[in-house]
Amino acid sequence: MDFIELEAIEGLRWSWNSWPASKPECSALIVPLSVMCTPLMQSSELPILTYDPLLCSQCGAVLNPYARVDYTSRIWYCPFCYAKNPFPRSYSGIGETNLPAELFPTYSTVEYAPGRKIPSPRANPGGPSLNSKHNWANGLSSTSLASMASFSSSSLSSLGGDLRGLGPAFVFVVDACTAEEELRALKNELLLVVEQLPENALVGLITFDSMVRVHDLGFSECLRVVLLHGDRELSSEQTQQFLGVTHIKQQYLGKAPVIQKQGFLLPVSECEFNITTTIEEIHSSVQAMLGHRPQRCTGTAILAALGLLEGCLINTGSRIMVFTSGPATRGPGIVVDTDFRNAIRNHRDLVNGHAPYYSKSSSFYQRVSQRLSDASIVLDVFALSLDQVGAAELKGPVESSGGFMMLGESFESSQFRKCVRHIFNRDEEGNLKMYFDATIEIVTTKDVKICGALGPCVSLQRKNNLVSKNEVGEGGTYMWKLGTLTSKTCFAFFFQVSDEQKVQPGSAFSIQFITRYRYGNMGIRKRVTTAARRWVGSHSPEIAAGFDQEAAASVMARLAINRAEKCQARDVIRWLDDGLVSFASKFGDYVQEDPSSFRLSSNFSLYPQFMYYLRRSQFIDVFNSTPDETAFFRLMLNREGVVGSLIMIQPTLLEYSFDGPPIPVLLDVRSISPDVILLFDSYFHVVIHYGSKIAQWKKLGYDKDPNHENLRKLLEAPELDAEQLVAGRIPAPKIIKCDQHGSQARFLLAKLNPSVTHNSTYTNGSDIIFTDDLSLQVFIDHLQGLAVQS
């Protein structure tokens, strides 16, 4: 079975599709038992059920095709815990010929969208799902529950009494230290966003420089702004008190909560004029003291936004969108001080401990992460600056909330515009394509233990007997919180075989992913994916056959970057190498001590190559990257699906020539040739590289000559393909067109396998790369040598 086809159905990629039954054998696999899961993968055949799921009374699993159903007694047996569950009355008509969709064998994934017709959060609290005491309902984070309860009673009333259809909240946090022209571009973009937001969406605006200004959008006499001091780390309560959005607890004297009317976060419909004027009135406050950076208190601004959202009890999903153009220079989250004589930290400073603010700021943002997650708030950062802005420090909250990060150079760039517009895309019904306030719950057969997850999520620390003590990444739980996710967000889940029971090889086990989220219209949905695989005996060939090297590589990549956050690159590389050598010696086919006899079967063959490119990728090798860039790359990798991850790890290279249709070629310097066009895709960059001849023809304008129609077509083809590649990605990659030997060609050369270098004896007329990095060949040679050692 093709893994990719399977993925299209399940949304899952398993590093191993068949699991050895014993624990020691599992650990000998080197590549851990893991699943790359894209919970909301788009699928045309997804059945959407308008009722609530049926839950197992014992383990909380959702009824699924793997359940054994006794139609006569109207009972189903949970495939995970084997508990007996009766069908409720609504299922009275059930029969072999009358199956509900969730029992269709082909529907391994179904989506429950109860009460779709009334897309209001209010529809839910009274709904059956909450009344039933089933586990999944308890699984909601307590804050969400609390918020829902109080939402309906209090905060809604505070928001102008319009109970119906409050949309998500957006707080724009704008850096006023941005240069005036840049700011203008940003303002235009924001105006556009506001104009296109659904009427019921809530908006707020915060600007900051050396202080934080929270704009009051409900004030008509003049522009009103609450000013918060840039140096103070305000608690949530303080912020709310200062903004006047405090709500007195209900138990206080038993009086109805008094909520002051606030104007900081209002539905677009109520404040469109005000927010428009306010945005227009944002002026650059750059006051460049000679030799000093502008004063920015980015951290405080984020805190203010957070406090505001917390105070308004908007737990239905909200985004804090930070638009900044430089590093924070004061207050919590400071990156560097204003004096230009002190350069912004680089990787070396971080390693040597010469970044005075780094750890303090990081731990500040760690605390922010926690609060964001508690309130289901997403933090997005748009850093448009020529310099670093402190993305490394900011990465924590952005990543864990599932937020969006973009590093660019200018607000005037199309890249920025595309990003913003993409985020605010709407579906056919006019709902924003945003999924908020999500949780993922995993239910497994009892022999499978849950170790943890890697990806943009936070462990909710819910434990049951399925949770392993061995934690990987966000572990110690069977449920994770996600601020937001997209249809592409992918998580790596790690499992382990229980060491208690002996399982019968050949028997099946299953894993169920229950993703609960708030749809763009704020209605709650739940997607349930159930997958089953088999236990196999030791040394069974099925183990090798079930190896998905691509999934394995992306899982290893996540583990590696996770490790790189804590260790030095050198150690990570060694860890990867050790693993690879053991892996090769376990699964290779060779004669002891004879490197030349080493072979790998086809479904293992690419794995060493992936590892090779991974270890020299920007994810591990931070040389030449700033901490900000590294943070960004890792953040992107950590949420990308298998296919995307692989492109990041090992970019693709297509060759366009007159000889025929485009063909993929080796990511090797020898692929460069004067008469071909190369299309290079490293996910973050797309490079169209014209061979020197083609470049010359282009220069001479042959492509415009009707006699050379084919040249024009040849030139066109990679561009069209590049556009297509770029279209699906956010942030949009940069398209770089370059000629052979041009300076921009470095983007390509840096990634190519340096099989020919200035040290090579024979160049065969190929380009060379000036590097001392080892080439793939040398790497493989060493690997073979080491693998065959006993």
Partner: protein
């Protein structure tokens, strides 16, 4: 020490300036090109005509020269030029002849005047010719022979002297003649510029050409020099006036103008049209210079020259009237005739007063009288006066007398419009000449010896070398020959241009920050609207110029700043929510150049009341708001004007309703009643000290209807040189106009910023303590972030040695300050008084008004810290001990049955009694009323001290058109209910409040005419004086306006009637009556007498 440089000033270099460290000498001013430029420009005054105009102010005259502070103004230059040239030119040497002639004039009695005329004609022509330059030029016709002649150097007397000047000139000119030829060429101008002093020489001559006219004016001189001088000169010799420089100008704008600026009290709460209100008007009228002449003549014909007249009580040295004599036989109470007991007799018309006569200090006229000073060497008593005009030689003598020795200093006091303005002297880069030991400044009492090569300091007695370029030969009389040409050698009050050494930073700009309470109460009572409208109108009165900065903030439980930058479409509000730990927006956002934000500002002030219309926040974060405003202007310093309406209840420096707590806990309240008059805690005090350090002055306008704990709040203004205005109970209808006028006067009155003051005394006497509104951070100096013409500082003195009999004791007050136009100045006031070892001399020269002001201030000072009874007792005892001492040692034997009062102090018992019945010393008043009273007294000027406790009462039901020369204000009525008839209407005012009492059976016709009502029952509680179209109403308005002008206060008007609390209030001011708070006047006299008798017999 000598350094008047503000100490703690925030600037960078401040460290260089060690407090204890002497001064400036070594202090290296961080050179500020501007200030230098300023100095130069001052120098330039002497330059060609064009100069004056170059100043920012278009019309030189525009600026009222009278105001010293304003002097710096461009306007000033024009005026001051003549005076400014301190230095005798080298040329001076050449004119030996001069001195003699010159000096005589001074000494000459008025009569001499006649002589002058002849002089005039004399040489003028040629000699003067050369003196084209001085400011004079402008007015003068054509080049060469500038008219300025007279004005010139010393003829200070200018206007005042009247006839004298012209005459004098002549004489002086003559000397020039000799040199004349030479000088001309110098054509001065250039010379002047480079170095002030030398250049001047020439100045003297100027008069030349003008003479003719002048003389004509003066001719008449003969007989009536005095009167004539004025009347005559002004009218027809405008040109001549102008020559005189300021004098001419000055006079006009002055008070006399009343006619032009009637107070036409604004009908309703409506803000007055600018200019309608007294003092403030002056500045406005500059343009009208021309008209002025009439006034001096008509209105205030100076009646006497010098001290001639008998009327002055002080004068009569011998008279030791016994009570019996003056009226009240003591022995039997019954015998006392209430109509005969001593009462103040107001003098109705101004008298002329020369500060120094025959080289002897002339005892000053009563502070409350109307007088015109001619500064002949000692300072005008307006600026500084001593409780006794002779200094006791020993501490014992002083103790025996029972009197106290203290100075009341009011360095920026408003001069009489007819007085010559203070001259500004620029010593160039070297700065004013000072004693190298005590750092005293050069003054007329420094004695030059050794052919002028050395001088002896009259303060410390040290002999100093005369700086080379200040050297001048002595004349036969032992005085420097140029003494009369140099203001610093012939005037008791001069102003020096401060050099770099006196600055720790560039002089600060004028910064005004308005802070408005918008809490629920303020909004609902209309206080916010009133404040906004007042500010809005006052904006145009702020000093013009690029230097003037303005900011506005409002506050309730949070603080709202406003960004007034022009770049914005509209003002935007910046809210500071943290009232515990305050911060501010960027200063550049919220404090903006006035010229740049006028429109936004107007718009803002218009919308503030509506913006907060529905504000439900009752809390008010006064302390935090002031702190925030302070932070906003910290870098420059400036004025914060706060409009507060409720008790500050939240945030930094919040207060509690202590008054109520005190009431509920009666036992504690009784015992510690005075505690409520002390600040609640130290928070505000600490803040205030920091404000002062950064030159921020806070004024508080309290528009309230409840208790606001003024005792605590007032600490801030008090420490920063500001003041508290109190409107209780606030009424938007009747108080808005006063609020506006107070605010307007606050910003337009002569004032200075970042000031430092010190008083130096001759050896043997030293300063014991300063009292007033200031911050004291070093033992010797007082820091005044703000100082204005209304603020008085009491300086108590003590002996530290015996003074030689027959010597003179000098007091010198130096005030270093920055004008509203950013010029740094030193205002120097010197008073030299004879010493005496005769007790009787002390009594003869006692200055009742000053003594009583000191009494008052000391009592006020004690009230918050001692139980009331004790204070009252002390007050009585003070009075008794003085009288006892007199009785014991000075009174010639009389029957012991008589109460004998020293003539000079005969009103002391009356005032003492009045003091005891005043708000501050009564126990029945509201705490806030007493606090405000104490606070008011702390900076109260001498002329206002007595009216405060002994108000003026006049009848207004029978106002009748008066003759031109009669005073506008009707004759005063003693404060006794005997004089209040049921069919009369009386007006009683104490400088702050004005009560109009309407008897029960007043003719309804009169009521209709005056107030538009037909019976006393219709009296409105919120009263606004209106002018109706009938003579009576007009007359009343005239009277009220005249009083306002005299008091420099708009007065809170209130109607009172019998049988109403308002009536009770009125009667509580009738201090001669017996009342719960004290005995009647007669009873009190009896009491005093009895006490004295007892003490006499017991000793």
């Amino acid at each position: 020490m000598a350094a008047l440089v503000p100490r703690g000033a925030p600037r960078p270099n401040s460290n260089s300036n060690n407090p204890s460290q002497p001064p400036p000498p070594n202090y290296n001013p961080n050179s500020n090109p501007n200030s230098l430029a300023n100095n130069l420009s001052n120098l330039n005054l002497n330059r060609p005509p064009s100069m004056p105009n170059s100043g920012p102010r278009p019309s030189p005259f525009g600026q009222p020269p009278n105001f010293p502070s304003s002097a710096p103004l461009p306007g000033v230059p024009s005026g001051s030029p003549p005076f400014s040239r301190p230095g005798p030119p080298p040329g001076a040497l050449s004119r030996p002849a001069v001195p003699p002639s010159g000096s005589p004039q001074y000494t000459l009695p008025p009569n001499v005047a006649p002589v002058r005329p002849t002089g005039t004609p004399i040489g003028q022509p040629s000699p003067f010719g050369y003196r084209a330059p001085p400011g004079i030029n402008a007015p003068s016709t054509s080049g060469a022979p500038p008219p300025g002649a007279f004005p010139f150097s010393g003829l200070p007397s200018g206007p005042v002297v009247s006839a004298a000047p012209p005459g004098i000139r002549p004489s002086s000119p003559s000397p020039p003649l000799t040199t004349g030829a030479v000088l001309p060429h110098s054509s001065a101008s250039s010379g002047f510029v480079s170095n002030g002093p030398p250049a001047f020489t020439s100045g003297a001559l100027p008069g030349g050409p003008r003479f003719p006219p002048a003389s004509s004016a003066s001719q008449p001189p003969v007989g009536p020099p005095q009167t004539m001088g004025f009347a005559g000169a002004t009218p027809q010799a405008p040109s001549m006036r102008s020559l005189l420089g300021n004098p001419a100008i000055v006079a006009p704008p002055g008070t006399p103008l009343q006619p032009t600026s009637p107070f036409s009290a604004p009908p309703q709460g409506v803000p007055l049209p600018p200019g309608s209100y007294g003092p403030p008007t002056w500045p406005r009228h500059p343009g009208q210079v021309a008209p002025p002449p009439p006034i001096p003549g008509s209105v205030q014909p100076p009646r006497m020259f010098g001290m001639t007249p008998q009327p002055l009580p002080n004068q009569s040295m011998t008279a030791i009237p016994a009570l019996g004599q003056t009226g009240a036989p003591v022995s039997g109470t019954s015998k006392i005739d209430p109509n005969q007991i001593p009462r103040p007799i107001p003098s109705s018309s101004p008298m002329l007063y020369e500060t120094l006569q025959g080289n002897q200090a002339n005892p000053p006229p009563p502070a409350t009288s109307d007088y015109i000073v001619r500064d002949t060497g000692n300072c005008s008593p307006r600026y500084m006066r001593c409780t006794i005009s002779q200094i006791p030689c020993t501490a014992d003598l002083l103790t025996t007398s029972g009197m106290q020795l203290a100075l009341l200093v009011q360095p920026l006091a408003l001069p009489h419009p007819s007085e010559e303005p203070i001259q500004v002297v620029d010593f160039g880069e070297s700065g004013p000449v000072r004693c190298s030991r005590c750092k005293g400044y050069i003054n007329p009492f420094m004695k030059f010896i050794d052919q002028g090569r050395q001088f002896i300091c009259n303060l410390c007695g040290y002999t100093d070398e005369t700086p080379r370029d200040y050297h001048c030969n002595l004349g036969p009389d032992g005085k420097r020959r140029d003494a009369n040409e140099r203001p610093e050698l012939c005037r008791g009050t001069v102003e020096f241009v401060a050099t770099k050494e006196y600055m720790v930073r560039d002089p600060m700009p004028a910064v005004y920050f308005f802070l408005i309470d918008v809490s629920m109460n303020a909004i609902q009572t209309g206080a916010t609207a009133a404040a906004c409208s007042a500010i809005s109108q006052v904006i145009s009165d702020l000093p013009e110029g690029p230097q003037t900065m303005v900011g506005v903030a409002t506050f309730d439980s949070t603080i709202h700043f406003y960004n007034l930058k022009r770049a914005l479409q509209q003002p935007s509000m910046l809210v500071i929510p943290d009232v515990q730990d305050v911060y501010t927006p960027l200063q550049t956002d919220v404090v903006v150049q006035l010229s740049e934000c006028r429109q936004h500002l107007e718009l803002l002030l218009e919308i503030i009341p509506t913006t907060f219309q529905n504000n439900r926040t009752a809390e008010s974060a006064f302390g935090a708001a002031v702190q925030a405003a302070f932070l906003a202007i910290k870098s420059s310093g400036g004025k914060v004007l706060v409009f507060q309406s409720v008790l500050p209840s939240i945030g930094l420096g919040s207060l509690s309703a202590r008054e109520a707590e005190g009431r509920t806990n009666i036992s504690a309240g009784e015992k510690e009643a005075h505690k409520l008059l002390q600040p609640a805690d130290k928070t505000l005090k600490t803040m205030a000290i920091e404000f002062a350090e950064f030159q921020v002055c806070v004024d508080v306008f309290i528009t309230t209807q409840t208790y606001v704990d003024i005792a605590s709040i007032s600490v801030v203004p008090r420490t920063t040189g500001g003041q508290v205005y109190y409107y209780y109970p606030f009424s938007a209808v009747s108080d808005s106009a006063k609020l506006y006028n107070d605010l307007r006067w606050n910003v337009t009155r002569p004032q200075g910023f970042e000031a430092v003051m010190r008083v130096r005394c001759s050896q043997g006497i030293q300063v014991q303590e300063y009292h007033g509104n200031f911050c004291k951070r070093t033992p010797t100096d007082v820091d005044l972030p703000g100082i204005d013409c209304d603020k008085t500082i009491m300086v108590t003195l003590k002996h530290d040695d015996k003074l030689p009999d027959g010597s003179e004791c000098a007091f010198q007050c130096a005030l270093l300050y920055t004008t509203v136009y950013g010029q740094r100045r030193i205002r120097l006031t010197t008073l030299s008084l004879p010493c005496t070892s005769m007790l009787s001399n002390l009594f003869r020269s006692a200055d009742l008004d000053t003594q009583f002001a000191c009494f008052l201030k000391e009592a006020a000072h004690k009230i918050p810290s001692s139980p009331l009874l004790q204070v009252r007792e002390q007050v009585t005892n003070l009075c008794i001990s003085v009288l006892l001492s007199y009785r014991k040692f000075c009174a010639t034997v009389t029957s012991s049955g008589q109460l004998i009062l020293p003539e000079a102090l005969k009103l002391l018992p009356l005032y003492t009694l009045a003091l005891m019945k005043s708000t501050g010393l009564r126990s029945d008043g509201r705490i806030d009323d007493r606090s405000i009273w104490i606070n008011y007294v702390s900076y109260l000027s001498t002329p206002l001290a007595i009216p405060l406790v002994y108000p003026r009462m006049v009848a207004i039901h029978n106002l009748s058109p008066k003759d031109e020369d009669e005073s506008l204000v009707p004759p005063v009525i003693p404060l006794s209910s005997e004089h209040v008839n049921d069919d009369g209407i009386y007006l009683l005012e104490n400088g702050e409040d004005c009560l109009i009492y309407i008897g029960n059976s007043v003719d309804s016709n009169i009521l209709q005419q005056l107030f538009g009502i037909s019976s006393p029952n219709e009296i409105p509680t919120q009263f606004v004086l209106q002018q109706y179209d009938n003579p009576l109403s007009q007359k009343l308005n005239d009277v009220v306006n005249e009083i306002r002008r005299q008091r420099c206060s708009y007065l809170r008007l209130k109607l009172c009637k019998k049988g109403d609390p308002s009536g009770a209030l009125f009667f509580s001011y009738l201090v001669e009556d017996k009342s719960p708070s004290g005995p009647s006047y007669v009873e009190f006299l009896v009491h005093v007498h009895r006490e004295i008798q007892m003490k006499m017999s017991s000793s």
